[in-house]
Symmetry: C2
Subunit: 992 residues, 2 copies
Amino acid sequence: MFSKMATTVHTPFVLLLFQIGVFSLPVSQTPQESPTCGYKSCHAIKPGMLNVHLVPHTHDDVGWLKTVDQYFYGARNDIQHAGVQYILDSVVDQLLKNPDRRFIYVETAFFYRWWKRQSGDMQDTVKQLVDEGRLEFVNGGWCMSDEATTHYSAVVDQMTIGLRFLNDTFGPCGRPRVAWHIDPFGHAREHASVFAQMGYDGFFFGRLDYQDRSRRKASREQEMVWRASESLVPPVADLFTGILPNGYNPPEGFCWDQLCDDPPIRDDPDLEDYNVEDVVSKFLTVAQEQAKVYKTNHIIMTMGSDFQYENANLWYKNLDKLIRYVNQKQVNGSNIHVLYSTPSCYLQELHRANLSWTVKRDDFFPYADAAHDFWTGYFTSRPALKRYERISNSYLQICNQMEVLGGPTSRNGSFGVGNSDTMKKAMAVAQHHDAVSGTEKQHVADDYARRLANGWTQCQVLVSNTLAALSGSSAPRVYCEHLNISVCPLTESSSKFSVNVYNPLARPVGWSVRLPVNGTAYAVTDSSGNAVDCQVVPVSQATVVVRRDRGYAVNELLFQVRAPPMGYSTYSVSLLQKGPPPASPFPRAPKDIQNKFLKVTFDPETGLLSSLSNLETQQTVRLSQNFYWYNASDGNNKDSKQMSGAYIFRPNSSTTFIISKTAKIETVQNSVVQEVRQWFSPWVSQVVRLYADSRVLELEWTVGPVPIGDNMGKEVITRFDTSINSSGIFYTDSNGREVLQRRKDYRPTWTLTQTEPVAGNYYPINSRAYIKDEKDQLTVVTDRSQGGGSIQDGSLEIMLHRRLLHDDVRGVGEPLNEASDLYPEGLVVRGRLLLSLNPPAVAANTHRPLAQEVVLQPLITFTEGLLPPNTRPEFSGLQTALPPAVHLLTVSQWDPDLVLLRLEHQYEARDSKEHSQPVTVNLQKLFATLDVLGVSEMNLSANQWKHEMTRLDWKVDSGEKPLPKTKGDPSVWEVTLKPMEIRTFLLRVRLR
Amino acid sequence: MFSKMATTVHTPFVLLLFQIGVFSLPVSQTPQESPTCGYKSCHAIKPGMLNVHLVPHTHDDVGWLKTVDQYFYGARNDIQHAGVQYILDSVVDQLLKNPDRRFIYVETAFFYRWWKRQSGDMQDTVKQLVDEGRLEFVNGGWCMSDEATTHYSAVVDQMTIGLRFLNDTFGPCGRPRVAWHIDPFGHAREHASVFAQMGYDGFFFGRLDYQDRSRRKASREQEMVWRASESLVPPVADLFTGILPNGYNPPEGFCWDQLCDDPPIRDDPDLEDYNVEDVVSKFLTVAQEQAKVYKTNHIIMTMGSDFQYENANLWYKNLDKLIRYVNQKQVNGSNIHVLYSTPSCYLQELHRANLSWTVKRDDFFPYADAAHDFWTGYFTSRPALKRYERISNSYLQICNQMEVLGGPTSRNGSFGVGNSDTMKKAMAVAQHHDAVSGTEKQHVADDYARRLANGWTQCQVLVSNTLAALSGSSAPRVYCEHLNISVCPLTESSSKFSVNVYNPLARPVGWSVRLPVNGTAYAVTDSSGNAVDCQVVPVSQATVVVRRDRGYAVNELLFQVRAPPMGYSTYSVSLLQKGPPPASPFPRAPKDIQNKFLKVTFDPETGLLSSLSNLETQQTVRLSQNFYWYNASDGNNKDSKQMSGAYIFRPNSSTTFIISKTAKIETVQNSVVQEVRQWFSPWVSQVVRLYADSRVLELEWTVGPVPIGDNMGKEVITRFDTSINSSGIFYTDSNGREVLQRRKDYRPTWTLTQTEPVAGNYYPINSRAYIKDEKDQLTVVTDRSQGGGSIQDGSLEIMLHRRLLHDDVRGVGEPLNEASDLYPEGLVVRGRLLLSLNPPAVAANTHRPLAQEVVLQPLITFTEGLLPPNTRPEFSGLQTALPPAVHLLTVSQWDPDLVLLRLEHQYEARDSKEHSQPVTVNLQKLFATLDVLGVSEMNLSANQWKHEMTRLDWKVDSGEKPLPKTKGDPSVWEVTLKPMEIRTFLLRVRLR
């Protein structure tokens, strides 16, 4: 009964499970009748006419002014009238009333909440609507992610869980064909790249720079092919991209939602104000005007907006009439045809037009909607939330790995019942474009954080279960989440404890730990019982500042740890009696600090950094660094009344105000670390830190509470001024993957009129930025997303914190103040910038692995007392470390015997002579404790077999021809990755 | 095949038509299966528990902030979010989802608009819902009429067309059992009386004086029997009346409409903010508290409010949950049962409780919702609209009569196609409690007036057709609607014209006409060719003031006309050449003016009235009269911030400001009329007028534009100060029918704490008010509804006009300014007060017919030139005048061969020894030109056979027992009327 695997119908992953079985043991199948969804379900168009595609839609923020659950239920309607449960109720009802009607739904976080409360009958009804293409999912991720402040790994994850739910529930008809980012405030190239790899045929959005839009309208270039990777071979990362005509709103005068006031169509001639002729004539004009700025005889109108369709009858009743009365005009010679449509139906017509489209190669940052209105503030807004989201991603990946390594025990083991789902959903929600972006109300930001904390609570049980299973010890695991502020009750009070360091990366990693203690001398041994060099130093005063009313340690114990790939090692710590107190820090700056890799000099007058040298490459740059603030505009400005706010960065002028020209200094130097502690003011301090074995200079900054007693909003930056001849150019990453070149006062696709010399030159930094010249590249790796720019040659500035007094009138309705009951004086934020200096040609060899180490950091857990005998002190889930170019992006339990695996080539094609090469991994030899029984390659979002992923081809007018598609890897187990390639597999596994 | 008429099922009047046939030619019928609507469709209650009747409802104003059609369509949602078409769409959808759900609908003006646009399938669906009692109509008039400023004849008409539509459409299940006046601002006894006579089993309302409510809550007297007539034999005018617990809103915290912000029930324990326990516990508390102020173990909650249920899903989804979760508590011992219900189901349970109820005999005026917040301003607000509504009622009755008299020709005759429906609907809409009340926005007031004008335009065609048919002349009829300001282009320019005077009353009426002319001498002849005494006088300067930019006449031609019952007479007018100019008015007041009936004296110093004598009865009273204004409160007041506005009359103090102590005078005296023209200021003037043959003194006042340059809002009154010893008592009519006694600073049913000495003593005057002592009764008949009071003994004041600078914060959101593009300086209003002086025992003999003459005034039409030969100059539709006590309330075409007739005994039982007696009319001998072939007596609203009108009996605790029901009149054709009785018939007629 063997046959080739020609299943065109694959769907609910209940079925998929079976098909995975098919992969290793294929059986013949009778293909089911295809439902008429997707492109097959589109209404007929009229070829000789201008066809107007009306797309009924709602845009449902997964949290913004209200929390996601408040939005779902329609609670707190005093803040904003919005209730998603009712939207879905109403739309389904209305779709049933007229088979011509169409609706698209986008945010699976909401759809999921609704679906699980529906009766079986209602679920069947909705399936029927989906099968007939009357209800179509677009985008389909858990949320519509932010593009400026998200990391690609979290974006891939959130898309995966959203699309999986749709696939499980609806099968192929639930698979979105179109990506739909109508609201995010600028668009990242990496998002386009991952969307292409997820199999989307096209992408639509609503917001772009007003100058860019203006030029594109004039030249009819609002629709294009976005070539979203410089490494991946076209058309792998090509994505057809369309700019919607009215953001995502209906044309003016045609909004018939309950939230709108436009006049309904009054077609009863017996009543007053009959207006059919007026409405039709206005509509024909609007359509004709819109057609002038698009290329084909098809145009799209988005008939909906934020939280609309709660009472869908209002919309559909009037749209039915509009369609009827406008099309009736055709008998009088009108050349316009209106129809209910969807983005995919519109896209299909663009594709059928068979035109050549321009190619877009850069991105859509920064976004400005007017001359002084650059949406570059949110790159930094809510820096603590941004960090918490980033570290939660690390937690989640560890939790996922632990779930696979622990098997069923992980979810129900000696520490109880835990799960990774809570964290998956919390992280997915946090990717929303008003979540990690920092553009939500304070109470909603608190809610996102609470969800992440709940997720981590569930994961802690799971991690404890797995560590117990792997180590053979069920000693309680203690999690210290406040090590960054030197708080950990166990280490502070215990005289004997062990430290488990779990490394989620696919290669061994070394790491410096700093544990708050009250003793003065400790002995540390590693997994093999060997002594480890350790030091006790007094806690930095800057740390104390942020600790508030907690009990706290006076000292920190420092030592270097190392953990195997996807595994852990264990260190034992014992308090030594009567050790001498640690040396007091030296109250002045040293001339320099150095280890075998780096040397850092300080200006003795100011205490500031003065140079950085790479001792291996023998290169040195002048490097001074300090902290400054811009005075946030309060709107009192002759050019514009725009104020700085959660979204918008608008300094009152380009002037930076220095916090202090000199720093108060303390120096700590020992065998483990050398630290220069700098105090610039009561609210700005920094530790310049060089660990013994590190090629990276760590700058740990602490900023806050930002004072506002002077009634001036402040945007706090740190700035590096170097001798590098950067010629107006600097570089930033896109969502943590590929790096884009940024040039001052310049945009690649139009002649920029620069109106904001600082804010207009800010770009999102997700994981790194650098400046370089022929000889030197100074790379800064960040621990969260931040905004930054290079306003002067040789200079790189990064915005660290913002505290503002005004709302910026983009809807959030609150100044970004971040003071609350918990921290009434304002929020203190701490973070790290990691600096490396290298020759440009090899710089990626440092910053690529470094950035992954910051994103996926080891998890440190503690157990009280000595390790019990028979405890396994060290473990690796991999048979061997993966090659340096390969990043283990995803290891996650999919179903009881299936694991989702993503392998990524983490170098760009031009990154590194050494690493930018194809590299092969054998999947069967991957795991140390799992047998891989079968494998099936998927698209990036794991909602489609890779071999069935056929996307629409688009002609481009660049003259280039896309290469012919390469066939899939002939070997099942040998997987080759080319630069920037991510390959996604479902593995059938068995725990050994 | 003859049998008795025992049809228990009578329904759509399509059927009724047949049944009328049955009356004269009865045939046996198999009764159809009764549908389970009405009382039979109520949900089971739990006898031992407190039963909470949840009544989902919407309150849809037939115009207020928006016009009726704007409300229907949901246009101008910028003013107020409200769209009735969507409410009905949505409610029907939601009722279908759960057969337990219930909804009531009230305003047929809206339901009709919706119904006629529905498909046959939808109509069938709605019929099914109505037949099953899931959708129930309550009240069911075209609108929910105002009670303070409406005339009973217009109220009966508007109820009739609303209830007829429901009967025609739905049959008996469409017949409302309950009257429902949840919003009107005080409640008239006459409304209760007519509701009782329409067959309603009960009546609910929401607004009453806050002191009254407080006492009734304490004594559990919020439900009672209202004995609404002092003449009709109980229980004919008894109406069970209930006061709703929260106005007509849901209890606080339980409003789940899209217009509300209360938290929805969040019952998914996986989501945040699960609140089922909170909501249930709060609801139980609310129910228990409410039960304490009502008598039975049933309470009602009105779950809805203004324009709610546009998205009914929000309400029902949460109510379903509320019912489920509250009733679930019963297993834990909760004693509260919640159910979907309707007012009739609640009423049925009150009836089953078999208690005795207190009897209410007065009315619910004035209405105050706080100590300084008396809703007594709207008694006068928009006096021009109030007059236009009243005269439109007269037009409509004439139009109705003409339609019957003219037969089919009336609707399609020599002048084209006309109808009475437009005017019927316009008048019905104008009865709404924000229409004639004057409490709507200016643009809505304009809309009501426009509708009335459109109605009259249609009626003019009909009237012209009928007059042509009756007279045999198709000469064009000219309508001069501006005679009150001496404008009529035809009479101003023509040298020969004829004047047709149509009298809608059932007895001959004499009338003085004043025609604007430019000639100085005319000859007038009557229908028989006899000369008629006529006089030409110069147009009063006060008239010129209000004429603005029209061409205008310099003189007026005055003569007395007379017309037969329900008929016309014709007068011919010819200009005489070279007549001398009319005498200039004499520039001083005479000592007195008098005719054979009355004598009026003037104070020579002031020019003001000083006494009035009835020469027949030889009685004289001191009578001075002048004009004053109250300074409307602007809210700057230590007691309260309440301002005067459209609803509320709140003088800043009880002080009246006199316009002028003396009047500038002109006197005109001739054989037809004696006039003293008084000018008090540029914006207040009056003509004191005594016609030769009149028992009534006419005061024609002209007020406006009220000056507001001093930033003081003004409430303008005229006050009569007399020698009558009124002892703190005066009298006002209720909706133009029965008269109630009013006592200063007193309410019959509770001990009043008077907080507003003027506004708190104001009452609505619909057609008349009087003061009296043992000897003298001074009656003032008004030409529209006005507010008035007797603040001092012997004094009677009437508010004529109001111009205010502030909104009174009751929702209308506009100051009552009445300045618009048409009259930017403010509105000038003119009206008439008719004074009679009689001994109290016989006063009604004058004021009853007089008031009917003012309500139903003759229609004067003109034709150019001489009457053609063979023109029939005189016509009466009646075989003979009806007896003086009988008022021909309604003569209106019902169906092609059916006529609706209402005969009314227009005297109260105690009015008149002479007239307060039973009187008999023979229906077959009624009409001169119609054969009456059959007759069927109906309830007052003509939606039920009279003999089937069985209402619930209610026990009262007054000790009185209602008399046993009298059987119907044994004679078919002889109809006996007792005082205040109205009898309603459908006549099968044939035009002779």
